[in-house]
Amino acid sequence: MSLLSIDVASAGYGPVTVLRDVALEIAAGGRLVVLGANGAGKTTLLRTISGLCRVEGSIRLDGRELTGMPTHRVAASGIAHVPQGRGTFGDLTVRENLLAGGSTRPRREAAADAAQWLERFPRLAERASRPASGLSGGEQQLLAIARAFMARPRVVLLDEPSLGLAPKITDEVFATLDEIGRETGTAMLVVEQNAELALGIAEEAVVIESGTITVRGSATELRDNDDVRRAYLGV
């Protein structure tokens, strides 16, 4: 049985409908990448899961209906979301950012986990007591990812982790994601423009065009699909 199942008839903002007839399944520990051009509805898909959009349809985590829940309850029930542009708490210190990510968990556990994340990322540890706003883009992205995992989620939604980062840093971010995902067995739903990298860490992939899914298959199949290659891999 799948961990997260999405069956959305329509979703959007106010009177504007962005997504139509989108159905997706992610198994426990599975990895799905969503490809698509700017404005295709990728971000809306993630925001819909997190309860930030108007939605008709059903989104279930482990059989439990998420639609209609306020965003913080969706998060508390096991879905972490790394938003586009990282969304770190600029005024809070790096350590406080991590602790805020673990605010749904018992205090001691959260403190212990925060210490582990700082150990894992020495560059964050050096700046643990400074405001997060002083971090570079790559460091912010690592912090946002660590903050998401602080909640010990069952599924992590990642919205364009490569946005605004230098290629070398992007490689690092994806390698880290791959590693953490493997260690924790957390399912991931990654929205990405950098198809090459995203397909590299995913098992399954879909392409969204104009708010609806047009291509789906395994990551390898999509990598070999001529249309996908032309449109998203630039070859």
Partner: protein, 292 residues
Amino acid sequence: MLLQQLVDGVATGAIYGALALAIVLVYRASRTLNFAQGELALLGAYVSWQLTAWGLPIWIALVISMLALGLLSAGIERVLIRPLVRRHQHLPLIIVTLGMMIALNALIGWIWTYQTKEVPALFGSGAVAVAGAAVSRQDIGIVLTVLAVAIVLAALFGFTRVGLRMRAAVAAPESAELSGISTGRTMAIGWGIAGAVGALAGTLIAPELFLHPGMMGPVLIYAFAAATLGGLDSPVGALVGGIAVGVIENLAGSYIPVVGSEVKQVVALVIIVAVLLLRPQGLFGRKELVRA
């Protein structure tokens, strides 16, 4: 004489600071100015007075009043404010707080009449000689009480999970929700603390000014000047701004002949205009980044 003026200024300034702090807490929670903050503090002062009139000691009356106003303020946030904040209705929000100001004032006049009432001083009468100046016990008590509240709040924000959640919700509301933090709850807590701190300010200043329904009008103007000077999103700024405004007000009233005690309030307006022209974010506030 000068020292005396300074001390008096610091004491009233501490009260302006407390009310400014309430304004800042609400601003941080809901990004709105609560024009009813003064009348909520007035209601707190009346509740304190009523309880003492029924025979309770003033300190117990103060604590009950702070709790009651805290709950009322959180309730106001939940029922009247949050629906408008969620729909980004900024102008209606301001109008609602203005409406509350007028309604609360009328309600208070209706319940307690427009006759002046005497609230017992919290710190007794008499004075202590400090460096040649006679400092009233009342002044010392006020400053220490506001200081204690400031320390408690600083500890709350700096060292507790509730405080961390509140600061996270202010820094990036959507990220806070995505991290499982209920921004609705943090907003209500912010309003609740503001209501309690306001009730404290009202009860502290009532013995100085005599309690009547028009009491908080001028105090609110000074508190807005203090919050503007300190920076609308800075709790520390509110307190520092309050003391600065209190001192400036007192000195200007005594040493600038034109100002006198009659037109002292102009000082507050001059401060507001000057800060907005020269340093809109205030002394401790963060500059708003506007992306074109």
